[in-house]
Symmetry: C2
Subunit: 209 residues, 2 copies
């Protein structure tokens, strides 16, 4: 059936398992498309244009924003980041869902965009803040100052949980993955999300029984 | 968490697999409560009061309707059938979902009732009408006239598919069961269906991190 793809927004404080969950969802459903961000930040070694980011200039970025070609965008440490709408619209036409790994501000902007009616938003909560801090430390990547700043950002992120359609408490990664699969499966079965149902029923009724 | 139970309405033409699916859902989740109907029809051999039906008199039935104690009711071949609200309200308070096996008219009445905001409604379509007729014949219970009347009723039932939240095409019983499980799992994870989330987040934020 010719369904229209959904925009799946996954938000959570950093360290709550979001990236792992996003990767697992992509493994589970290869038709799912991950929204690659555009950025004005220069590529780091190993980063591939169009795969990790669309690397672009500030001029081109601003032009896309002005022409309404960014679903959301933000400035972080002097660099611009945004979600280009064209690949999302192409995926929607193909009946493919797009997964967005964005924070609450990105979520708000996408919900308020012209494609907002196709959004399914999911917030992943950590089981506890000490557990979140423990996970951040376990990465061994960050200084104490960075960890403190991440924890402050996490609290700000968590404060927006009530803006999301679904809320998951990630106390077990496997179970949370199952729950995410259930949400995607169910959302695709909603009457108003299924294309071609009316035609299916019309054909059903016109068959000679 | 102290969630409020949902009212899960499952409708389909007879022969589309609804009873089997309802039984499988109850096996999967023993906390699910099946809504037992009240009826003025006399018990058949082997039928247990309170298990197959609540057997009652027309007087008592009408009194329940007048006192708003029936979520839905209908007259079929001179007998009254209805869904008493009291056991549903008790289950809701216990955080247990109730499963209703009702037709489109029952579904409409429950949706329009005071508990309508807690309804999740699912319509199960047969893959085809000849397949539906084949299944009815395979039961070997019914005369040609009864089968013709059931098929007419099926068409009337199917015509109401667009009033439901979810629509499943039952071309594979196992897959349809998985889809039903996904819908129940996802609906329970909706932010506005989870009780106590606000308190959970409040506690989370007040922990010493």
């Amino acid at each position: 059936m010719d369904r229209t793809g959904l925009l799946i927004i996954l938000s959570s404080p950093s360290g709550a398992g979001k990236s792992t969950l996003a990767r697992r969802l992509m493994d589970w459903d290869p038709s799912l498309r991950f929204s690659v961000s555009a950025t004005t930040r220069p590529p780091r070694p190993g980063e591939v244009d169009g795969q990790h980011y669309y690397f672009t200039t500030a001029g081109a970025f601003h032009q896309m924003v002005e022409q309404g070609q960014m679903l959301e965008h933000a400035e972080v440490f002097g660099n611009l980041y945004g979600s280009p709408s064209a690949p999302v619209e192409a995926a929607m036409r193909d009946g493919r869902d797009t997964l967005f790994d964005v924070d609450w501000q990105g979520g708000q902007q996408i919900r308020a965009s012209a494609l907002g009616g196709h959004v399914v938003s999911i917030f992943v909560l950590p089981p506890s803040l000490p557990e979140l801090e423990r996970r951040l430390r376990a990465r061994g990547q960050d200084s104490e100052a960075v960890i403190a700043s991440r924890m402050a950002k996490s609290r700000a992120e968590i404060s927006h949980w009530a803006e999301y359609d679904y809320v998951l408490i990630n106390d077990d990664l496997d179970r949370t993955e199952q729950n995410l699969r259930a949400i995607l499966t169910a959302e695709r079965l909603r009457r108003d999300r299924q294309g071609g149902l009316g035609r299916f029923v019309k054909n059903l009724m016109e068959e000679h029984a």
